[in-house]
Symmetry: C2
Subunit: 190 residues, 2 copies
DNA sequence: GGATTCTTTTGACCTATATCAAAAAACGAT
DNA sequence: ATCGTTTTTTGATATAGGTCAAAAGAATCC
């Protein structure tokens, strides 16, 4: 879904508003694995994923990559706490495939929030959407068995699960790659 | 912190705006454990906690209470996904002490969002604040040991940790009460 | 199209944390 | 203060899922 359609769907902007808003976004073609945000930097951009899948991840104390969130097509992506709190990012952000994204800086976004009531509304809706998404994940992680978490992933992100490496999904679900491999194997048998 | 001060701090409303907005909130004195939202109901109210501590929790398949979030003084509280998605609540919501809260219905809130650009901004700020809070918790839960999660709780919610029963904190942190008890004991020794 | 690198699977073993059960301590109401 | 209830602690035991290491399978590249 193009960013234009996406914005229109969420809030009924006039053509003029929409044009103005879109003019503040920059289209970027980024290649797989190219870092968009690095752990430790303040992330000052918000991205819309038009094509591709993004993720944010961090390196734990053993140097292992832990994926925190995936961002599919038609989603806004950023290093959440860093962007909102202007704090050093806990995460790296990258695309997992060659991708087309649209970026806007925090400053410009703030200006748009000031300028348009409807834009502020858009911001609120995106925030709450992201919030419910994270709450769902928290539910899944907190008290479910590894198998149940995998099943959650299957229903919640069927599009993503077959497009990204197993190890990333395992870390996203809070389990080791070996465990996920074994669960998946068992699943196929039943 | 009173709701009036809280709102003023976040967005610079005029006196008239503030008065109008506050007139849509209802002050409620609720007693400890009185259910505000029940699992399965759609939660259509947002609460501001002026005095007391609230939580939402659910009963898992074994009938055990699992606390998902605490809401301290000066926080907005609701059953997040239920309120935003108008879906049946996964959680019960209650106060853990006799409390003073201020409630507003979703409808009235929406009207205020329509009416005031600044109100929409307030909604966005609250949403993002809640979002970063949940992201922090997710970080803590996903890949930390039980001990590390307890330490996270100590720094993030020092006010709450000594005011609510151990079992609730344990379930909030995704561990058994016994484990938390043992961790705490060890901590005291060092 | 074979060599190289990356990803997934499999097996053996280990550990953090769960569970169960019961004692001890703290709390609350009379 | 005392009885009953709730909460916390402690000990013994069980297990889900982790770690390590190596093999098997895919993907990528000159």
């Amino acid at each position: 879904m193009t960013i234009t359609d996406f914005l229109k769907d969420l809030v009924d902007f006039s053509e003029a508003e929409l044009e103005d808003i879109l003019s503040h976004f920059q289209k970027e073609i980024v290649s797989k694995s190219q870092p968009l945000v690095k752990q430790g930097q303040v992330c000052r951009k918000l991205y819309y994923v038009e094509k591709g899948i993004g993720r944010n991840y961090y390196l734990n104390s053993d140097g292992k990559e832990i994926t925190q969130l995936f961002f599919g097509e038609g989603r806004f992506m950023t290093s959440l706490e860093s962007f909102f709190e202007e704090s050093p990012s806990l995460y790296n952000v990258e695309m997992l495939e060659d991708a087309e994204i649209h970026s806007i800086s925090k400053n410009e976004l703030e200006l748009l929030f000031e300028k348009y009531h409807k834009m502020e509304r858009l911001g609120r809706l995106l925030s709450t959407e992201m919030l419910t998404k994270v709450v769902h994940k928290l539910n899944a992680i907190q008290f479910q068995t590894a198998k149940e978490r995998y099943e959650y992933m299957l229903t919640e992100y069927p599009d993503i699960i077959y497009r990204v490496p197993l190890g990333m999904i395992a870390s996203y679900l809070g389990m080791s790659q070996e465990t996920l491999s074994r669960i998946r194997k068992k699943k196929i048998r039943d």
